[in-house]
């Protein structure tokens, strides 16, 4: 085993170990913090595989934005210090089964597709910004555009769902506060009730 392989295995162990802690810890915020360790270890794995660009994207997006959003939501709702007793998921076993199945599918795909490929680390330019950009915008430009349209649709969907003054809000008195029209009706109904 070379040093690179040793580092790779160690990073993998850190990633798997902290991922297990994410789902077993008794505290929601600790779970989010262990997730930082998992994502950081995965970024390290990318680095060892010479995918430098992907590694820093992983840190910037997942650690810098997604986990911060997660912590924000936790702090805004309910995040006591100390263990929480009501965290046991009732469907832990089926969930573990699904996770194992997904892992089996992914491992089979990766092994079937890439088991012959070896990476020469001395001349690895696979993950440089130039290579990544050229590959995405020359070879894979159509999937890239399709993905961006999908993300845009999800974004618009999220905005539509979170707005109170669009159609559908009239049935729901609680959500009507955003529009003056419906708010007035809700108000008068409230007064009538009194």
């Amino acid at each position: 085993m070379t040093w690179v392989q040793v580092v790779f295995v160690l990073l993998g162990l850190v990633a798997v170990g902290s991922a297990l802690l994410v789902v077993t810890t008794r505290n929601m915020v600790h779970a989010a913090l262990w997730l930082v360790v998992t994502l950081g270890a995965v970024a390290g794995v990318y680095l060892v595989l010479a995918a430098e660009f992907l590694a820093w994207v992983q840190v910037l997006i997942y650690v810098g934005a997604v986990v911060v959003l997660l912590l924000f939501a936790l702090m805004l709702t309910r995040a006591p210090t100390g263990p929480q007793t009501d965290l046991d998921a009732r469907r832990a076993l089926p969930a573990a089964g699904v996770a194992l199945l997904v892992a089996a599918v992914l491992v089979t795909t990766v092994v079937a597709g890439f088991s012959e490929v070896t990476l020469d680390l001395d001349q690895a330019i696979v993950g440089s910004a130039e290579m990544t950009g050229a590959t995405v915008f020359e070879k894979w430009v159509l999937p890239f555009e399709v993905l961006s349209v999908l993300l845009l649709a999800a974004l618009i969907g999220a905005i539509v769902l979170s707005r109170a003054d669009t159609a559908g809000a009239e049935d729901d008195e609680d959500a009507a506060a955003g529009s003056s029209d419906t708010a007035d009706t809700a108000d008068s109904r409230g007064r009538g009730g009194r």
Partner: protein, 320 residues
């Protein structure tokens, strides 16, 4: 072993810069603020215009008792200062002082620095939550909201320079820099600097630690050495933001006699930007939370997108 020795020397220089430059900025802040407010500031420590004031502060911090609140989450509480400080130390590695004068030249230097800077905020969030104090928690929530609002224009403004230079390497960006970028990339510079200030929670964007409302936000329960580490992280952040602004937008080591005096130019430009950071603290009152969000989403994000369009047109026109 010369290779290993070189790495050790480079790391030692970066650590020395990390420990000295924030102190210099801190002293500049003491004295500049004092004179702008018609005071003299520290005068006694070290005899000459109080130059040793921050050293004395450091000694005082070390002597204090390390208190952990009873209800706090002990491990997270103790870990938070290190998580807040280490990313800035790592980011210092990639910032170039002169041609070839850099801790480590990375092909993706700009991306690396931006990614690592975002991690530091997790430390502040950990501090806010683990203190088990409602003021700390509110401060933490404000930190998270602020980061999410300002990270986007920050990265977009940096992307504009990367597009103009055609590279993500910090050395490459300085090589490609041209004085007329001062005009072409001016909106990006403004967006980058303002969003950076907000990310560091410097006044006028210090809503998370607003002392009149939240005591001291996420740092309320911290004292002694741990508090000093948070302070060091803040001033290291100022140095990093100033150095990045100088490297990306002000041409880094470019200037007269750049072959011999390049490092001095970088330091001078960094110092100038750091002075502006302090100046803004004295000149502007703190923004309210809703004003802060409005500035980011309705001011900086559209401006950054506009700049990206200008940059794209410029790059295409110049290439043809």
């Amino acid at each position: 072993m010369p290779e290993l020795l070189e790495v050790l020397v480079r790391v030692a220089i970066v650590i020395a810069a990390f420990l000295v430059l924030p102190l210099i900025v801190g002293q500049i802040e003491h004295k500049t603020m004092a004179h702008m407010q018609s005071r003299v500031g520290p005068m006694y420590a070290g005899a000459f215009h109080g130059w040793a004031q921050l050293v004395a502060d450091g000694v005082k911090f070390v002597q204090k008792e390390a208190v952990v609140p009873a209800a706090a989450d002990r491990q997270v509480f103790k870990l938070a200062p290190a998580v807040a400080m280490l990313p800035y130390l790592v980011a210092f590695l990639a910032v170039p002082l002169g041609p070839g004068l850099v801790g480590q030249d990375l092909d993706l230097g700009l991306f690396f620095v931006l990614a690592v800077m975002g991690v530091g905020v997790v430390g502040t969030l950990m501090a806010g939550w683990a203190s088990a104090n409602k003021f700390s928690l509110l401060g933490g929530i404000r930190v998270a909201a602020q980061l999410m609002a300002y990270e986007l224009p920050f990265v977009l403004a940096a992307a504009s320079v990367a597009m103009a230079a055609g590279t993500l390497s910090l050395l490459g960006i300085v090589e490609a820099w041209n004085p007329w970028w001062l005009l072409w990339q001016l909106p990006a510079m403004v967006v980058f600097f303002v969003a950076g200030l907000a990310e560091l929670q410097r006044p006028p964007f210090d809503m998370p630690i607003a002392d009149a409302e939240l005591v001291f936000g996420p740092y309320t329960e911290y004292g002694g050495l741990r508090f000093a580490v948070f302070l060091l992280a803040e001033y290291a952040g100022i140095v990093l933001l100033s150095a990045l602004t100088a490297v990306l937008f002000l041409g880094g080591w470019r200037g007269p006699f750049e072959e011999q005096l390049g490092w001095l130019w970088t330091l001078a430009k960094t110092g100038l930007v750091a002075f502006v950071v302090v100046w803004i603290r004295v000149a502007y009152p703190r923004l309210r939370e809703d004003q802060l969000q409005r500035l980011a989403w309705q001011g900086l994000v559209p401006l950054a997108l506009f700049q990206l369009a200008i940059t794209a047109v410029g790059v295409v026109v110049m290439a043809s």
